[in-house]
Subunit: 246 residues, 2 copies
């Protein structure tokens, strides 16, 4: 292990950050897959030639970013979107009464297209590159709640189809990670209020022109690479978008 440059170096980076980068690389390369246990802290310390405390600090940061999950007495695991706990991290929807909600994803359409200028820019693709477009409805306890239009790079999801989407019990992101080895890390959202057009009004069973919450999301994998652009129309009569400010 290279020691950090030690005196007046303009590129000083602490040891634990270097370890952190090495662990991230192993995650990225698939050496450890979602759900897997990774080597113990002392094993990693030996492997990298540093003390256990230094490895610990690197893992601390990766756990804070939800890339890893620690479980005392058991070990440290690569986090996965199969875990229902990690599911509501990316769906900040709750019902007015705070009830537990039975959630249902209903894929409507899935087809192949070429990236227009907007999609190309957002997903960092060449204009005209192949993309997948998915239309989907989400119901919460038999009530339509969200209508999504989803744009995905064709290269990353070569054989995506309605059948495959229908086979998914849990979230789309767990499909991405298990079938396509695309690990969703983080997302940025832009929220606006808009008027329902004819299509979304019909799907969400509201009057045309009634207010909808538009959630535009860009989702990223490692290295801040965008892998999804999503426009979600939320019917917020009986639901709301929940956020915490700290």
């Amino acid at each position: 292990m290279n020691r950090p440059a030690t005196t007046h170096s303009p590129t000083f980076s602490p040891l634990y950050q270097q370890i952190r980068a090495l662990i991230t690389r192993s995650l990225e390369s698939g050496e450890w897959k979602p759900g897997d246990i990774i080597p113990s802290e002392s094993d990693l310390a030996e492997r990298f030639g540093v003390s256990q405390g230094t490895v610990r600090k690197a893992i601390d940061e990766l756990a804070a970013e939800n890339l890893l999950v620690r479980r005392q007495g058991k070990g440290t695991f690569v986090s996965t979107h199969d875990d229902p706990r990690s599911f509501f991290r990316f769906l900040r929807l709750a019902s007015n009464e705070g009830e537990l909600l039975r959630l249902q994803s209903i894929p409507l359409e899935c087809w192949r297209a070429k990236a227009g200028p907007d999609v190309a820019r957002t997903l960092a693709l060449e204009p005209g590159a192949p993309i997948n477009i998915v239309r989907r409805l989400m119901r919460f306890g038999d009530e339509p709640a969200v209508y999504d239009e989803i744009y995905l790079p064709g290269e990353l999801f070569p054989d995506l189809s309605l059948d495959i989407l229908n086979s998914v019990a849990v979230s789309m992101y767990s499909l991405f990670e298990s079938r396509y080895s695309v690990r969703i890390i983080r997302a940025e959202e832009r929220l606006r209020a808009v008027s329902a057009d004819r299509v979304s009004a019909e799907l969400l069973q509201v009057a045309e022109g009634s207010p909808l919450l538009l959630v535009e999301r860009v989702t990223y994998t490692y290295d801040n690479k965008p892998v999804e652009w999503r426009r979600g129309f939320y019917a917020t009569k009986n639901f709301y978008y929940h956020n915490e400010l700290g």
Copy 2:
């Protein structure tokens, strides 16, 4: 310093959590005020009779929650809402073009009232308890962006008035902390899309009935005590509400 109960104790709490609680108490009691520097890690270690590393871990957590701010070479400081960096933590608004925005808060009205059932429940007050109601407009670069209706416990803000609100250069929360010793720690928001009523339409210069983003916020101080209920109507034609999912 009491050592943590050590064997099979159901109430086990690590030392650094106890230290953290002690530091929090000193913040709460006003021993160290917003903007103040707190004693150095080694001073605190001596004062509490623990090692410097244990104090460090306690401060780590408080810094992660934005209660404290570390500055290498200088010391550790109590965070304050005067700091413009901490300002956009509680205003997740950005413009479509991503420009820097000149921001202006225009208080419209401020009066004293009695808590109705909704306000009383939200702010954990007795129904009929005195409250302050504030109406306010926010402009971003000469364009109206947000109309706020704000409900505050009368007991905490006894002499709040339009004059006092107008004297504030920065955020209301820095007024709360400097004049009323009420420190805003965190907030929960519920977002919905609604139709503009006559009042908000006029203030925000949009057509009556056009979609607005309604942001309902409950703000908390220490011990999860609610101190503010706010309904913000956001005109999202040229702005959006920004959120990061991690």
